[in-house]
């Protein structure tokens, strides 16, 4: 969506026209140069039975100047939007660069030329509501759960809102985007005797306030599940038939053929997937995509932090690995096509190949089909984290809730926590059923334990076999 009416924060609007000159100055010394302005601000509201908090998220606002010679990427970053800082950094950075070897420019066509402005679509943009209205909304949700059950010891409502503005400039393009990301979470703590359990639910979106509303049934179900978990046990460790809810399916996509195909990991010899291009890695029912242009999804954007336009990448097609996710540096070094996945945590960090919205494609089974087909298994409802192992192709998905399936029926017996582990191709090869609907859930993602970016992952329900514990 091209929205020329985009209104940028005033310091960014002032600085934007000066970026071209900075890029031009750097390209007298470097085969390629770019400038990026990033401004991320946000806050959270937390309302529970004991207290209320409004907290500013530590903002990140600054300039990045990039010089790339096709092998080494050099950057200077400063936490400022002052024109004199831009000019001073461009001058000293330019002077510090090694002499231009041969004088030729790198052709790094990014698919967009000229000026383009974008912003997330919303019926009710969050900036149209006051902070007081947002706090009252959280209080209302909290009040709804005040007297539900005496075993509920606390209910916390958390609202998180982030406004991200970025401007990218290189010799051919002048791009700006503004993205709102929002999440509302409901956390419930219950206690009975010595047993304490908790449960939660998040709704997230990039866009408008309308996307993160709860109905009464959704809110009540968080409490209901927390109470059920008071009687939950541990699953018998071993291999099980498993039906995954869309969020759990998403973590499987994210940790298996998400992190494992970020091509900076190919350069570092960290990704086994590099050996499997155009080879089978899963059952023919497996399609995996990454798509930063997915409307409303929490990890969406219009262009990546290296100016490449958002678009869908099919990573796995009918079980065959087709494409990695690239950033500028690794795509150049490997000689593979760019995808829109060059992302940085903020101006203080470099861009790496990172996911956006990563999900399994739909199939044609129904949820009832999958449950009915499982003789003895576990339906995994809810995830809380995952971890990748791109070289060893191990996988860990931490799930909060599992429900027993017996003779094709959900029994009402619950397990918590449940962890999925296994060898990625083994797990993907066992996928025998895929439902038709695709749902994504928002969260954050690190590279190892740092470099946080906001993403979503999802998919339909899947039927597979995996090790549980």
């Amino acid at each position: 969506m091209n929205t020329p009416s985009l209104t940028l924060p005033e310091p960014i609007e002032r600085l934007r026209p000066r970026l071209a000159k900075a890029v031009e100055r750097l390209e007298t010394k470097s085969p390629y140069a770019a400038a990026w302005l990033g401004d991320r601000r946000g806050f959270s509201i937390s309302v529970d039975r004991q207290e209320e908090l409004v907290s500013e998220e530590e903002p990140a606002a600054g300039i990045v100047l990039t010089a790339f010679d096709g092998r080494t990427l050099r950057e200077r970053a400063v936490g400022s939007f002052a024109a004199q800082d831009l000019e001073s950094e461009a001058k000293t950075f330019g002077e510090s660069l090694p002499p231009l070897d041969g004088g030729s420019r790198l052709d790094l066509a990014n698919g967009m030329t000229g000026r383009h402005d974008f912003r997330t679509a919303a019926e009710m943009p969050p900036e149209k509501l006051s902070l007081a209205e947002k706090i009252d909304h959280c209080r209302g949700l909290q009040d709804r759960l005040r007297q539900v059950d005496p075993r509920v010891v606390n209910v916390r409502i958390v609202y998180q809102e982030r406004a991200e503005t970025s401007v990218f400039r290189n010799r051919q393009s002048d791009l700006a985007q503004q993205i709102y990301r929002m999440r509302v979470g409901v956390f419930v703590i219950v206690r009975e005797g010595e047993t304490t359990r908790w449960n939660w639910r998040f709704k997230s979106a990039a866009g408008g306030w309308e996307s993160i509303q709860y109905d009464d049934e959704e809110v009540d179900s968080v409490v209901e599940m927390a109470l059920r978990l008071l009687q939950a046990g541990r699953v018998d460790p071993g291999e099980h038939e498993v039906v995954t809810a869309p969020g759990v399916s998403g973590v499987l996509a994210h940790e298996s053929f998400g992190h494992g195909v970020e091509t900076d990991m190919f350069v570092k010899e960290r990704a086994r997937a590099a050996l499997y291009l155009n080879r089978r890695v899963g059952s023919p029912l497996v399609d995996i995509f990454d798509d930063p242009s997915l409307p409303g999804a929490y990890g969406m954007y219009f262009f990546d932090d290296e100016g490449y336009p958002a678009g869908r990448t099919q990573i796995v097609e009918k079980g065959i690995f087709r494409s990695g996710l690239t950033d500028l540096s690794s795509a150049t070094l490997l000689g593979v096509p760019r995808t829109a996945n060059g992302r940085r945590q903020d101006y203080g960090r470099k861009a790496y190949a990172r996911m956006s919205n990563t999900f399994f494609g739909p199939g044609d089974s129904s949820f009832e089909d999958l449950i009915a087909a499982a003789d003895k298994g576990v339906y995994l409802h809810k995830w809380n984290s995952g971890m990748e192992d791109p070289q060893g192709w191990g996988i860990q998905i931490n799930c909060h809730v599992g429900q027993e399936i017996k003779d094709g029926r959900l029994t009402g017996r619950y397990f918590t926590p449940v962890v999925v582990s296994g060898y990625v191709p083994d797990v993907l090869q066992t996928i025998r059923g895929v439902t038709g609907e695709v749902v994504t859930e928002g969260g954050w993602c690190g590279k190892g334990h740092k470099e946080t970016v906001f993403v979503s992952s999802g998919g339909p329900h899947l039927w597979l076999r995996a090790k549980l514990g």
Binding site: E51, L53, V54, R76, A77, E194, P237, S329, K350, V419
Partner: protein
């Protein structure tokens, strides 16, 4: 300090309290991949962080207060930034609380002089040493490394007269060490967060990682095992620092009724057969990554007994929760410190046992302590042989495991942890071969 901003805060008679921090950060980053320098970055930042307390009224007209925060960025006016914090604070109605008063701050070791004064050279020298070690080793190769050096200076002033300054350095290190080609390729990934370069024993760490990479290449599947599990050094620090101790030991979580710990009662779910457990939350640990002369509120760094001989003795408490719960205000939790144990390390490593050297992500449920976590790499030790394995799940409960633990006499420092270098936990379960 921004004197205009400070003067603006001092003029505000409508505030019950305020805190101002000036943070100046300089970072140097070095990236290497595929045998060459892949990237170099330098980052500079200065910011002023404001927090305010405002007296408000509850819905029943009782005395209340609200807090708000904002950051002054760019050429924004101080009044605008202050008003943003005040606007948020006015909407909140919590029981009244104050801010930390003036108190002495400890002198701490937080700075690596070389990282502060010549970061680029120090990182390059360390990387050159690493490359040299890798070049000499015929079995493995260094395929990537990241070195991040950050220096941060903080000044703090609050409306109750607390003032402080501190400088600190932070070092982030990542190495990828690989052996073999194609399907036979195996790696180890080292990730450390420290304050000084001297705490990275480059040669020793490299040799250990190289040995593990080679072992990982020949590793088989995890055994099925129920019995002693041994963790050492960084694996032990990872286990202890995974969240439950900080969660349960937080006065904020006690106030929110989500921590089940009570002062004077056992920290464990049941009495175990292990050594008595004693834990300090230490914000004064020399070169500890969470050590600080003062935290964001201005509360001085201190060493706090959280658990003594299995009994809960204290909670880490921000000022507001200290006042709400009548506890001492201790500030942020800090690093973990445990006293040296009773057993020689050699006794704890007697076979048979499973030793886990790397978790995929040890991420227990912080409320209950329950965990099932994938083992990235470990050894089954029996009959004097160390058999490497990968995969499998370690299953148990964090608090029960601490109750069944014996601790070594020998100690280690890992940046976030000071204490016994070895733990032997009886009765944990590894789900391995028969689990698929």
């Amino acid at each position: 300090m921004n004197e205009t901003l400070l003067a603006s805060l001092r003029r505000r008679t409508d505030l019950a309290g305020w805190t101002l921090r000036r943070l100046v950060t300089r970072s140097t980053q070095l990236y290497s991949a595929a045998g060459r320098i892949e990237g170099e970055r330098k980052v500079a930042e200065e910011r002023h962080a404001i927090s305010v307390v405002v007296a408000t009224r509850g819905t029943d007209n009782s005395e209340a207060c609200g807090t708000g925060s904002s950051t002054l960025l760019g050429d924004e006016s101080p009044e605008t930034a202050i008003e943003r914090a005040v606007e948020a604070a006015r909407l909140i109605h919590n029981p009244p609380h104050g801010l930390p008063g003036k108190s002495a701050l400890p002198e701490l070791s937080l700075v690596d002089k070389d990282l502060a004064e010549r970061p680029a050279e120090t990182l390059r020298e360390a990387h050159a040493t690493l490359e040299e070690l890798a070049a000499r080793n015929k079995k493995v190769r260094l395929t990537a490394a990241e070195w991040h050096a950050t220096t941060r200076s903080t000044e703090l002033v609050n409306s109750r007269g607390q003032e402080g300054e501190q400088q600190e350095t932070a070092l982030g290190v990542e190495w990828v060490i690989v052996t073999g080609e194609g399907e036979a390729r195996a790696e180890t990934f080292l990730e450390r967060r420290l304050r000084r370069m001297a705490d990275v024993e480059i040669q020793g760490e490299f040799e250990l990682q190289a040995e593990m990479a080679v072992d990982r290449q020949r590793a088989g599947p995890a055994p099925d095992w129920e019995g002693p599990v041994v963790l050492r050094n960084t694996a032990l620090a990872t286990f202890l620092d995974a969240g439950p101790l900080q969660f349960l030991g937080s006065a904020g979580n006690l106030y929110a009724k989500v921590s089940s710990w009570e002062i004077g009662k056992t920290a464990l779910r049941r009495e175990g057969a292990g050594d008595p457990l004693t834990i300090y939350a230490n914000r004064t640990l020399p070169f500890g990554v969470r050590a600080s002369r003062f935290d964001d509120e201005g509360i001085p760094g201190q060493r706090l007994l959280i658990v003594g001989d299995n009994i809960v003795r204290g909670f880490s408490a921000a000022q507001r929760y200290a006042e709400y719960l009548d506890l001492p205000a201790t500030g942020d939790f800090g690093d973990l410190e445990l006293p040296a144990g009773r057993s020689p390390q050699a006794d704890l490593r007697l076979d048979p046992h499973v030793e886990i050297t790397n978790f995929s992500w040890f991420n227990p449920d912080v409320v209950t302590g329950d965990f099932a976590t994938e083992i990235r790499f470990g050894y089954f030790v029996e009959g004097g042989r160390r058999t490497p394995f990968r995969g499998g799940l370690l299953i148990g409960n964090f608090l029960d495991a601490l109750g069944d633990a014996r601790w070594s006499r020998e100690t280690a420092f890992t940046g976030n942890y000071q204490g016994p270098n070895t733990i032997r936990i009886t009765g944990l379960k590894v789900a391995g071969r028969t689990a698929g």
